[in-house]
Symmetry: C3
Subunit: 312 residues, 3 copies
């Protein structure tokens, strides 16, 4: 595997990575592929789970890990090609990436979307530029439109439920700020590549891009969507159609114990961080969820991906 | 030892930990208890000594160490249980702790008091919540009312003086800002569990909580207190009675060479960072102190505690 | 080697360090001198290359590395000796350094000049104080007037060109802000100790201190200076004479393909970060430069220096 940015990098099937992640969960120290190898993690945005789980994954493989918070520790990055850098930006992204590649064997990068230009964000302008200029394998720690390490960990978690053909519902949920679509996009991309039956429920105007929606059922009535579900995957996202906006929503989309009661003893999933009593009630999070199992599986998902990137 | 938050966690006696710390000082690499174990250090507040000495202690035992600065690297934490998180807070402390526990074998946390509500601070609301939600051993890197790693290192330092029954004076000293009571509280809690004779000297109104004062001599006249002392342990703290306030003080409480001259060739101690020529003069700090020995002993104190937590 | 602050620390000849760096480039894991040793990196200013390459160098030698961002993670430092610390400063630099020395075997520090007082900056007031108070080897990660790890990596890069007596031109180039003179000073100090023929070209008023200029040719006409050069080493710096100021400059000093055409198929060098299309055009940076080779050589330069410091 040359890079890990989207499902495409796996030749379209997540199965091999899921299997490998589960093997690492059984025996975290079974591979020393990372011996004398260095993982560099470059954060352009905040991170807790990704930061710690990916470090841990590298350590498990015997890697050295170096973490860099670009904003607070380094220089202000220029993202435009060809610009005359006489303003605030101090270093071009392409120089930063190419230099870091001198120091690492795998480079992980987190970069959030601006949510202003749909074209730029969905063109994955920054991540594409990073992949173009890197001469080492690039590991996405979340990009403008996808969060593949999260999605892989989510599939590992669903696999562990042992349901033959799970009914999976991706549900929009409320949030006080406009959020990226990366997690729901990516979840759909990956879960559709399994044998799950996938439904999306969201208020009108919050439908995700066709690329991700196709092959799923769209149900605007949340309670109808929940009926008989094995998995409720909750997430807030801003509008794709009215790009980056928060649209007025009348109904209460917070996920409650009563709504979970409509499911087939379904499990609640969320990538975290989660706004308690906004996305879902404490009761749902504390009694009906597998959120910590998801978070724990991030280590083994990252470990499987690093193993494959190091073997490339 | 399940957690390390206060003296209580040691079954009331610091001796075993002091002995172990001194053994690690002789031979820092004598234990590999930390092999394939991970230490996570979560800072909600600044730190230099604790940050570096605890990392070093983990390394000495063979641990991997991951450091997380919550404010600048992660998400804004919610501390209230049951709150509707539609404001600035992005992640609940209980979720952050429970998730980090997926990635570590021991979780260290530093969290300062607010100094607004004595009830909240002395209830150790945040640290209690952390201990409650963690499913791995919790190592206090300083909490609202205690700093046990500092206190253990202080006792190691006093032990190294080789005085049979040392006269120890905890002295209040000036400072331009309102500071927590954690270090003096904790020092009293721990030093009282040794055979030292303990005196507290402070301006009226600066007496610490009864829980910590009992079993000590209280002397409001600083020079009287210093008479014949073997150890002067200096620290500023804000008022416990007028909670979190700086009260007007007439006398000059800065510790000078002249005042040290009243002692029994006593040694000056301070946890650092220290305001030079405010807490104590340069002369005292540079010629009469064991402050760097204290700082160095932080490594071995932390190493002893980690050894015990890993064995639990 | 006791410390690494300037060329003086090498007994005046960079050759042994260059040789050692090139050996480490051939076999990065050939020395385990760093086993059970700790490298502490203290940053008072931003850093990307130095931060990552020095960490990597330590890892290659088997060291544990701890990184500390003083401003964001620790306490505000006091730099004046004897001051009454009742203001914003929370910890004296001498205490911070002496304490960190308790935790490390080598201490690296980065501290930029204030560019306000030439006397203070050129007296290397802060670095001298650090060296004075440290009881472990001090590794400069760039100080007020020098950046020796960069200069050593630069000499390694020039050596790799295999030119018997290279014509090296240090050229001033434009920049929107007032920058330190550390990189050009240090480059001159080191390159003059090789058999290179060295020319400096800059607008009038931008001549560096005599200490660094002596033994070089000064040519105010940039194109004349470029004639027949093997190496163009570009950098912006503020005025030494009108200390720390940006002086009005009429000509266009940006380094272009046309100007590079005047050289003897010369290579463009820069320490990075570089303002693209201000210091030099994209064309020069992408087609005529060895900037990434320089950045990569930072690892082996640091590794050679750490090896020597650990042997001391």
């Amino acid at each position: 595997m040359k890079n890990f940015i989207s499902l495409n990098d796996t030749a379209g099937s997540p199965d091999e990575l899921i299997d490998l992640a589960l093997r690492f969960k059984q025996d975290p120290f079974s591979s020393r592929t990372g011996h004398r190898k260095t993982l560099g993690l470059l954060f352009l945005n905040p991170s807790l789970r990704t930061r710690l789980s990916t470090q841990k994954a590298g350590h498990n493989l015997g890697m050295q890990v170096m973490v860099m918070n670009m904003d607070s520790e380094g220089w202000k990055l220029e993202m435009e090609d060809g610009s005359v850098m006489d303003g605030a930006s101090q270093e071009h992204i392409k120089d930063a990436i190419r230099v870091i590649c001198e120091y690492v064997d795998v480079i992980g990068v987190r970069t959030f979307p601006g949510l202003k230009s749909r074209e730029e964000d969905y063109g994955e302008k920054i991540m594409s530029s990073i992949v173009k200029h890197a001469n080492k394998p690039v590991l996405s720690l979340e990009s403008a439109t996808r969060h593949p390490l999260q999605s892989l960990a989510d599939l590992v978690t669903i696999r562990e439920m042992g349901i033959t053909r799970p009914k999976v519902v991706l549900s929009w949920a409320p949030h006080p700020r406009a959020l990226p679509q990366a997690v729901p996009n990516s979840f759909l991309e990956w879960v559709k590549a399994t044998n799950a039956e996938v439904t999306v429920t969201c208020p009108k105007g919050y439908e995700l891009s066709d690329e991700f929606m196709q092959g799923t059922h769209l149900v605007h009535n949340q309670e109808e969507a929940f009926d008989g579900a094995d998995v409720i995957y909750a997430k807030n996202w801003s509008s794709y159609q009215h790009y980056g906006e928060r649209l007025p929503v009348q109904e209460d989309w917070t996920i409650t114990k009563a709504k979970m009661g409509l499911t087939n003893n379904g499990k609640f999933m969320h990538c975290l961080p989660v706004r308690r009593n906004v996305i879902a009630t404490d009761e749902v999070l504390d009694n009906h969820s597998v959120i910590y199992q998801q978070a724990g599986n991030r280590v083994f998902a990252a470990q499987a991906v690093l193993e494959k990137l190091l073997q490339s």
